[in-house]
């Protein structure tokens, strides 16, 4: 009874066994069971992240010794008597452990990395990671709509280029990043902070389902039958950091839990980049701190690509094609529609629209502010609608408009790079 209250894995299974997934060997499964059993103690120690990382690097016996508490002896006995059980009828669990071929190679050298990963979705994606570039987009859970829009368009561009976009499945920036990657029909990798059985928070369910169904992959360190734990959230951040080739922080408050991914990445030599925000905004303070400490500066997808590869060596043609494939922000009209003129992204903007777009970018981002500045309220409203229909503006909260997509700038830089390479 007390065991159940302490939040053990399902008491019906007995304290000495847990279902294993295909592809995970017995010793790694036993480790997953042990972490589930110790999760309350790990939650407590998660307040000090450095200590948590040191604990996670320990092998099993030392871990029991370190945090087993006064029930150490009982725990050791259960550990010794642990056996693998068959999974629930009808539930198929996939997983990879260290000893499996498909385990991501980049995770093997790190002691901090999880020993086993439970997987739902495309297993092949995980196996093929060694040939791919992975960009992790992380950030605040309480994000402003500027941050959400930036993360979304960044993920859309990078996903459309063929990179794998990885993020935790959590509210805020992370959800926006995965949504953006899915929009561009790119490959999304979601690291679950909870378990694979249930998506938490529950309203991210639709993103979770799309990731799993549309060529993406969801991975989780905890066994599906384990209880939800709060150390799982920072645990997911460290998994993300170790899997990535580049970590981009879009918006982050200045708290260790939010910056966990960036710190782990920096400690392991993985490049960290950050997107700035307003200097007065508390939501961006963490990102600014990272920039001050030497993170790469990212304004848009081109900067991220430069950080990933060396500047100028990206195949600009491939990028331009990929952007078209992703659809950009203005979709092509269906053939035979008749009246619509089908605006292609390259059509130049009329002067009055360009003027309004610039004013919105400068900070007059609501209709009220624009009307207070200069111009007739009706014409301004009409201009905002037209810009929205062209995909250059998006509606944010509270009647604000946000510049959406950086299509024009990327193309311009691509063209410039291409010209340089042709001449020089």
């Amino acid at each position: 009874m007390r065991e159940a209250r302490r939040g053990m894995a399902d008491p019906r299974r007995g304290a000495r066994g847990s279902p294993t997934a295909a592809g995970i060997c017995a010793s790694c499964a036993r480790r997953a069971w042990l972490l589930g059993r110790l999760s309350v103690r790990l939650d407590f120690r998660a307040r000090d992240l450095g200590r948590l990382w040191r604990l996670l690097e320990l092998p099993d016996e030392q871990l029991i010794e370190a945090i087993g508490g006064h029930r150490r002896a009982e725990l050791r006995a259960d550990y010794a008597a642990w056996h693998a059980e068959a999974p629930d009828a009808g539930e198929t669990l996939d997983g990879v452990c260290r000893h499996h071929d498909a385990f991501p190679r980049r995770l093997r050298p790190h002691a901090l990395a999880p020993r086993a990963l439970h997987v739902r979705g495309e297993l092949a994606l995980l196996g093929g990671l060694s040939h791919e570039k992975v960009v992790a987009i992380v950030g605040a859970r309480r994000a402003t709509d500027y941050g959400m829009e930036t993360a979304r368009s960044l993920a859309r561009s990078l996903g459309g280029c063929g990179l794998v976009v990885a993020s935790a499945l959590d509210e805020g920036i992370a959800a926006a990043a995965l949504a953006g990657a899915l929009e561009a029909q790119g490959r999304a990798l979601a690291v679950m902070p909870g378990t694979l059985r249930r998506c938490s928070p529950a309203w991210c369910e639709s993103i979770y389902r799309r990731v799993v169904l549309e060529r993406g992959c969801a991975i989780c360190e905890s066994a599906p039958s384990a209880r939800r734990s709060s150390w799982g959230r920072v645990g997911a951040q460290r998994t993300l950091a170790l899997l990535a080739d580049l970590v981009v922080v879009v918006e982050a408050e200045e708290r260790p839990a939010e910056l966990a991914c960036a710190h782990v990445a920096r400690a392991h030599g993985i490049p960290v980049a950050a997107v700035p925000g307003r200097v007065t905004s508390p939501a961006s303070r963490g990102a600014h701190t990272l920039l001050a400490e030497g993170a790469r500066f990212v304004r848009g997808p081109q900067d991220a690509l430069d950080a990933l590869y060396d500047a100028g060596s990206i195949d600009s043609g491939r990028l331009a094609d990929a952007r078209d494939r992703a659809g950009g922000d203005a979709r092509r009209p269906e053939p035979g529609y008749g009246r619509s003129s089908g605006r292609a992204p390259t059509q130049p903007l009329e002067r009055r629209l360009a003027c309004v777009l610039e004013r919105v970018g400068l900070g007059e981002d609501t209709l009220a502010k624009l009307a207070a500045g200069d111009g007739d309220s009706g014409e301004l409203a009409c201009a905002l609608s037209e810009l929205e229909l062209r995909g250059l503006l998006r509606r944010g909260d509270g009647g604000r408009y946000l510049p959406a997509g950086t299509g024009h700038k990327v193309r311009a830089r691509c063209a410039a790079t291409h010209r340089e390479r042709a001449t020089g």
């Binding site: 009220a368 609608s385 909260d397």
Partner: protein
């Protein structure tokens, strides 16, 4: 002896004829009233007895049976007292019974014989005229309502004795003119739009809503002036037409709220508190209970703090917004009331109220999603205009007033006249009530507007309903500026004010 008196019972908003039959027989003294009367009708026994005795007449000590026919119509309220008393007097031969048939009697009796007014006088007066009776006798307090009906002679009777005098061939008391009433309502002065500083966009949107009777939602942080703006709406609405006025007056008469004298020209403005129950909002709590939506017929229903209203209560608004009427169906009675009103609601965009203010919003995704869910669904679907109100800059209070109520009202009246000329044959009065076929007939889009509409449709930004909404609002904007054809500029403005939730940049794909 059997005597018959004529009176009326209020059913919903209309009056039905009721015959009071009084029969007196020798027997143990008793006074029974039958005919499905409610508690006030049962208490009439004591009132009528005391009134007759105190008026100097004799109350027969025999077996008296009074029947309120038809016996399957429930009778509510004390308005049958006068008819019962006169019936008893006629049945005991204290007054001639022949003149009772030509007069309609309506009123409550006090214990000393004074005749009091009862609710529903206007409906009773209309029914009296329709039944072709010679005169309506009622208490002086509300007799002015009956005067509004043409072709009806009204006799005010101060006391039971005066009624007896009239029935015996005498003259009724003079009807007090509206100026002499104690309860003359002072002329209502609404706050003026010139109190609003700056906020040009919001005032413009409110004018559009008033011109076409569109439903509007004001969304903004606390203190941005949403309630203030909504309270100034009555000052720019056009006055009631004669038909609308009679409908509104009939409703208010049944609830006893009709102010003295002249025909009502002010549109009703109802602003219920958010703790109102569903029954309070749509009616049906008991027989004869009228909800706020019916009281707002031909006027405005203003819901402040929309997110604080119970979800079930807001769902009950679906039918009136869709059909323009509310049907109350209960186990024992059912009634249909008209409820065509303009809905104006004010809300915060998120639980803390500051979503969209750059740094101040402290709500998590889940809280914002939950907040939006409360407002979503059929209610939001029927909102035509979404007006965002932001906090102004520090010196916005020094800006000049955008316009005054009088100027705005003139523009609104002109726009409404154009709409009425156009929609004359279709049975609706304003753009907001146009349905799909009327839109196709009356909307004249020019080429640029058609292209813009097609673009919006193919990008999936507009559902079919959203399209109709935008077109109606565009038609009103064109009417306000006196244009015959709807151009891209008007459509663009309508699209900018469409009430789409800004869900695209937040999270869930």
């Amino acid at each position: 002896m059997l005597a018959r008196a004529r009176t009326f019972a209020i059913e919903g908003l209309h009056a039905r004829a009721v015959t009071v039959e009084v029969d007196i027989r020798p027997g143990l003294p008793a006074f029974n009233i039958v005919g499905l009367g409610d508690a006030s009708v049962r208490e009439a026994r004591d009132r009528v007895r005391a009134a007759i005795l105190n008026s100097g007449f004799e109350f027969p000590g025999k077996r008296i049976t009074a029947n309120l026919a038809p016996a399957d119509l429930p009778k509510i309220g004390p308005g049958f007292d006068l008819a019962l008393a006169c019936g008893v007097l006629a049945a005991s031969e204290q007054i001639p019974g022949t003149s009772l048939q030509e007069h309609a009697l309506f009123g409550e009796l006090s214990l000393d014989g004074e005749v009091r007014a009862s609710q529903g006088t206007l409906a009773v007066a209309e029914a009296t005229r329709k039944a072709g009776m010679r005169m309506l006798l009622l208490g002086p307090a509300r007799a002015h309502e009956a005067l509004l009906i043409d072709g009806l002679s009204v006799g005010a009777v101060q006391r039971l004795a005066s009624a007896v005098r009239v029935l015996s061939g005498g003259e009724p008391d003079p009807v007090p003119l509206p100026g002499e009433q104690e309860d003359t309502a002072p002329a209502v002065r609404h706050p003026n739009l010139s109190d609003v500083r700056g906020r040009a966009q919001a005032v413009h949107a409110l004018t559009i809503a008033a011109a076409g009777a569109h439903n509007a939602l004001l969304s903004g942080a606390p203190g941005t002036g949403k309630t203030m703006l909504a309270q100034r709406l009555p000052s720019i609405l056009p006055p009631l037409t004669r038909e609308e006025s009679i409908e509104v007056m009939r409703i208010h008469s049944v609830t006893g709220r009709l102010p003295a004298g002249r025909l009502l020209t002010e549109r009703p403005f109802r602003a219920p508190h958010h703790s109102i129950t569903t029954a309070g909002l749509v009616g049906g709590a008991r027989r004869g209970w009228i909800g706020e939506v019916v009281l707002a017929h031909n006027g405005v229903l203003f819901l402040d703090e929309l997110s604080e209203f119970a979800r079930a209560t807001l769902d009950a608004l679906r039918q009136p917004l869709e059909d323009g009427r509310v049907a109350i169906v209960r186990a024992r009675h059912s009634a249909v009331y008209p409820a065509r009103f303009m809905l104006v609601a004010a809300t915060n965009p998120c639980p803390c109220g500051y979503a969209g203010e750059h740094e101040r919003c402290e709500c998590s995704e889940a809280e914002i999603a939950r907040h939006r869910r409360r407002l979503s669904g059929p209610l939001l679907d029927r909102i035509d205009l979404l007006v965002h109100m932001q906090r102004g800059s520090a010196d916005h209070l020094n800006e000049p007033a955008t316009t005054s109520s009088e100027q705005a009202r003139e523009r609104v009246i002109e726009a409404r006249e154009r709409q009425q000329r156009r929609l004359r044959g279709d049975g609706v009065l304003v753009n907001a009530q146009m349905d799909g076929s009327m839109l196709r007939a009356h909307l004249k889009l020019d080429g640029s507007a058609e292209r813009m509409l097609a673009q919006a449709r193919e990008q999936g930004k507009l559902s079919a309903r959203g399209q109709h909404r935008a077109l109606r609002v565009a038609r009103t904007i064109a009417d306000l500026s006196g244009r015959e054809r709807v151009g891209a500029k008007q459509l663009g403005e309508a699209l900018a004010m469409r009430p789409e939730a800004a869900r695209s940049s937040r999270g869930a794909a």
